[in-house]
Symmetry: none
DNA sequence: AATGAATGAGGATTCATTCAT
DNA sequence: AATGAATGAATCCTCATTCAT
C-alpha cells in the first residue's frame, strides 16, 4: 500500500499550486494566508503543518519555479541540427514557456525583488541563470568548433544572449505592446546570432 | 519670498532621499514609515504633511528615478563623433550612473514588481524605456544613414540593445560576480555593436 | 505647561493598573491583551505604544509590585520602641498590606512561577526578599545589642522570620481557613520571636 | 493476564514523567503538548488516549506530586527517639527529598499558581499541607506530653514549623544562594525547635 | 492501542494613518 | 508647518484537540 506514502508530497504541491495562483493574482504582500487556505481547499492548520511560514512557501515556490531541467539541457547539446537552429529552438521554447505561464510571469519580479532580501530565493534564481548561461556557452563553443560561428568570445556572447533574453522579458512585462515576441523579440535575438555567424 | 517654496522642496527631497535609502535596504514592504521617519530626521506628522501615503512616496520616487533627461538625449543626437563612439559613450555613462547609485539599484526590482499592480508607477517606467529606446533607434538610424552601420532593422537593433542592457542589470543584481561590467558587460554590448557595423 | 510632561507616566500607570486588575482576575495566561485594553479604556495601539509586549507588562508590574520602600525600612531602624515591638509592627503592617491588596495576592504565585523562566522578574523579587531580609537582620542585631534578645545567630533568625512569613502566605493562599492571620498567623510568628527573647 | 493493566500503567507514568520534565523546564503554559509527545517518545494520539486533556495531565501530576505517604507519617509517630530528634529527621528527609528532585521543584510554583484557578489541584495541595501539618501537631503534642517541650500552643508551633519550611523553599527557588539548606536552612529551623524546648 | 495528519478558533502583534495641540 | 501620541483594522501564526486509518 504505497498509496499513503506521498500524501505529504501531494499536500505540498496542493499548497504550492494554490499559493502560486494567489500570488500571481495579488502579489506576495497582498496575498493573505487565508487566500491560500481558501484556494487550496485545505485548512489553515494544514498549511502550517507543511510550511512553517509564508516566507517558506515563497522560497519553496521559487525553488520549483527556478528548477533546472538538466535532461533537457543535456539533450539539446547532443541534438541534431546546426547550433544556430538549436539556439533558435531553445529561445523559441523558452518564449513558449513564458507565454504558457503568462499569468505567473508577473510574480517573476516579485521573486527578483525578494531575492535581494532573502538569500534562499536568490540562490535558486542564481543557479537557474547560471545553468542557462552555461548551456549557451557550451552551444556557442560548439558553434565555433564547427566553424558555424566566428571565433568570438563565447562567454561574452552567451552573456549577451541571456541578457537580451532577460531584458526582453523585463520590457515585455512593463510594456507588452513594445515587445511582440513573434516579430520584434525574435528579430532582436536573431540579430545577435547573425553577428556571430561566419560570413 | 520664493524661499518658502524651497523649504517645501527641500523637505520633500529630504523625505524621498530617506525613503530611497530605506527602500533599497529593506524593500518596499519591509520598510516601515517609522524607518523613513527616522532616516529623514523629520517627524511622522511632517512626512504625512508632504506625502499623503506610503504609496505616494513610492510613486514620487519612481517619478524621480525614471525621469528622462531630454536635454541629454537631444544633445547626444547632435554631438560630434561617430555613431558607434556615441553609443559607446551612452552606454558607458549609464553603467557609470548605475555604479554611482549601486546601493539604490536594488529598488529597481521593487519598482518593476510594483509596476504590475500600480499603474502610475508603470507609466513612468514605460516612458523611461520608450525614451531610451527611441534614442537608440534614432542613433542607429543615423548610423545607417551615414553608412557606419549595415542597413539592419533599426527597431530590432535598438530593442536588442536596450534589452541587453536591462538584462545585464537583472543578472548583475542576482549574481554580481557573474557580471563584471568593465569586462564582460562591455564585451557583450560591443559584440552586438560590432554586428551592426559595415564590414 | 508642565501638565503635558507626564502623560507618558500617567498612561503607563493606567495600563499597569488595568493589567493588574485583569491578571488578578484571570491569571497571566487567561488574560487577553484585549481584556487589558478594555479595562484600561485605551486602545490596543496605545498599549503597544507604551509596552512592547505582554511580557513587558508583566515585568513592569513585577517591578512595581516588588519595589522596595527604602524610606520605610530606614525609618523602622531608627524608630522608637523595643525591637520586639517594632518587629511586631513590621509584621502587622505587612499582613495589613497583604489584606489590603488581597485581590492581587493571587498573582503573587504567577510571578513566582514566571520568575523561574524570566530573569527580569526574578531579579525584582530577589531584591525585594533581600531587602526585607536585611532589615530583619539589622533589627535582630539591634535587639541583641540592646540585650533584648539572646545572642542568637541573627542571620538564621532573620531567615527563619521571613521564611515563616512567606510560608504563611503560601499556606493562606492554598487554604485560607487554615491561616487566620489575626490569631494563628500572629501566634506562630510570636512563638519565634519569644524564642529570641532574653529570659 | 494482569500484564495488560501494567502496560496501561506504564504508559501513564511514561507520559507523566515526560510531562513533569517538560513542565519543570518550560512552565505549564510554555510547555506544548508536542513537547511532551517528543519527550515521552510516544505519539500524540497515545497521549490523548490516556489523558483527555492537558489539564488532566496537570491534575494527575499534582495528585502524584502531592500524594501523602500515610505509612511514613504513622511510622514516625510511633518511632523511637526523642520528639526533637524525630522532627529533625522529618525535616532532614524532606530537604533530602527536595534536593533529590531539585529539577522538578520549579513546577511547585506552577501548581500553586494553577491551584488558584483549578480547584482539583488545590484540593491535592491542601490535603498535602494538612497532612503534614497534622503530623507536626501530633509530634509536638507528643513532645509536650513527654515534657520535652514547653506547654506551647501546638497548633501555632506546627503552623510556624511548616510555614518556615515552605517559606524556605520559596526563598530558595527565587534566590538559591541565599538559602544554603545544610547550614542556614537547618539553623533557622533549629532555632524554632530550640524555642520549643523545656529549659 | 496506536498513529500523526488535519483542524480552526483564538490571540498577540504590527503599522499605516489620523489629529489634537 | 510641525509634532508624536493615539488608533484599530488587519494579519500571521499557534496549539490543544480530533479522528480516519
Amino acid at each position: 500500500m504505497p498509496r499513503r506514502q506521498d500524501v505529504s508530497e501531494t499536500r505540498k504541491n496542493q499548497i504550492l499550486d494554490a499559493a502560486m495562483a494567489v500570488f500571481a493574482r495579488s502579489g506576495f504582500h497582498e496575498a493573505r494566508m487565508d487566500d491560500i487556505v481558501q484556494e487550496s481547499g485545505l485548512s489553515k492548520g494544514t498549511l502550517y503543518w507543511y510550511f512553517k511560514s509564508k516566507e517558506e512557501i515563497i522560497t519553496a515556490i521559487s525553488q520549483r519555479l527556478f528548477a533546472t531541467d538538466i535532461e533537457q539541457v543535456e539533450g539539446l547539446l547532443r541534438a541534431e541540427g546546426t547550433v544556430s537552429e538549436r539556439l533558435q529552438q531553445l529561445i523559441h521554447d523558452r518564449i513558449q514557456g513564458l507565454q504558457d505561464m503568462s499569468g505567473m510571469v508577473a510574480i517573476l519580479f516579485e521573486f527578483y525583488a525578494v531575492a535581494l532580501h532573502q538569500d534562499g530565493v536568490r540562490q535558486f534564481i542564481k543557479a537557474y541563470f547560471q545553468n542557462f548561461h552555461e548551456l549557451l556557452v557550451a552551444l556557442i563553443e560548439q558553434g565555433i568548433e564547427r566553424k558555424e560561428f566566428r571565433p568570438v568570445d563565447a562567454l561574452a556572447a552567451a552573456t549577451a544572449l541571456d541578457a537580451i533574453f532577460e531584458g526582453l522579458i523585463v520590457r515585455w512585462l512593463i510594456d507588452p505592446e513594445a515587445v511582440q515576441w513573434a516579430s520584434l523579440g525574435q528579430a532582436a535575438i536573431r540579430l545577435l546570432l547573425d553577428g556571430l555567424k561566419q560570413e
